[in-house]
Symmetry: C2
Subunit: 227 residues, 2 copies
């Protein structure tokens, strides 16, 4: 049993930890939205901004790790409190990787030529919006410890996967008919794949939220699509 | 300070934890090697075996999580011991994802047609061997708490990235010249990308090994290539 002053210190530390995770979630969502805007507009300056801002996510992850280790070492939390700290450690790692996927999208903006020719440039923003919404809503589920919302986010991942499969087939047909655009098309294929992976990672965050809220593991992991 | 019987119980639990991580590392390395063999030989049965065996990695990750949480809750480890447990939690998550990349390669085996036409089918196994060696050696670094070997593994990632860039350019030229093979070529491009990501993830494991061994973070993260 913790003494009262220890409980207060612990509550303050957990609040800081949750604040750092919320900040990471906000930055990850912004990185997705802005990398896709940069892609849609062909804006290199916007792409550069996304790339530059990613360092902040890396720093925040290291801060979460340090604070989580400090909390465990000083407060020796158990049960719900311990699961909360462990979930924060894992979620920070996943959000940092979502940032990496957005940064990778931003890096490809300068590689896409003859932009107006690509029909997927209208499909990709719609797919990205779905993935960004998953990230947004899973962070709401995290803030509210809402296991039901976490499950709902996981269920949405199948739609992102289906969208991706359709973009993959569309891109391949386009490449067959327009061999001169293959380099740009290959970069767009990877953009779509990155968005699909962001959906998977939002699902992984949702699994951690579920675990922190219920002490149970969601048995089945979502399958990744093949393309 | 822990009582003597607690120290013994703690040592036994840490040994179990390290055993689970070693098993995960072995399975991940095997999954890479066998998915690439399946690809090189066009063996669907071998690919199926890799896909089926991936569930074991998922189970082991959950076991590591449970044991790590149990150790923290019951033993309240601090300093080196706590870093060791935290590193195990993070490494288990990374090895599980390496398994996912290998599984994704295995899933693509059935999608590659006219296999003999692809020059990258000779380059990809060489690239995969580099990545599998990184996974192998980072697990050796983990077992030996060898920070210098961890750094050496990280330095090797640049070679995998360079290999990937060269395969990307090679594949794009091939697609331009042979539009009829574009679907297969796109799958091979993703195979190469998966291997590149496995190299990144071996680097992430190495960062955790370094942290567990030295209590310091490696300041700079490796950059992902653009293609």
């Amino acid at each position: 049993m913790m003494a009262e002053h220890t409980v207060k210190a612990f509550d303050a530390e957990i609040t800081s930890l949750r604040g750092l995770i919320a900040e990471m979630g906000g930055l990850a969502e912004m990185a997705i939205n802005e990398s896709i805007q940069a892609l849609a507009k062909g804006s290199l300056s916007m792409a550069e901004a996304v790339i530059a801002r990613d360092a902040r996510l890396d720093k925040l992850e290291a801060e979460v790790d340090r604070l989580a280790i400090r909390i465990i070492a000083l407060r020796a939390p158990v049960a719900d409190d311990l699961r909360e700290v462990i979930a924060a450690l894992k979620i920070a790692g996943i959000l940092e990787r979502i940032g990496d996927y957005a940064k990778n999208i931003a890096k490809r903006v300068s590689r896409i030529e003859e932009r107006t020719r690509f029909e997927p440039l209208t499909l990709i923003p719609a797919m990205a919006e779905m993935a960004a919404d998953m990230v947004h809503d899973v962070m709401t589920a995290y803030a509210a410890r809402d296991a039901a919302l976490a499950v709902e986010v996981i269920e949405r991942d199948a739609k992102v996967d289906a969208f991706y499969d359709s973009i993959f087939r569309n891109m391949v047909s386009f490449m067959v008919e327009n061999p001169s655009t293959i380099t740009s098309a290959a970069h767009l294929l990877f953009v779509a794949r990155n968005i699909e992976r962001i959906g998977d990672h939002a699902t992984n965050v949702a699994e951690q939220v579920y675990f922190a809220a219920t002490a149970e593991y969601l048995a089945d992991r979502t399958e990744r699509p093949m393309n």
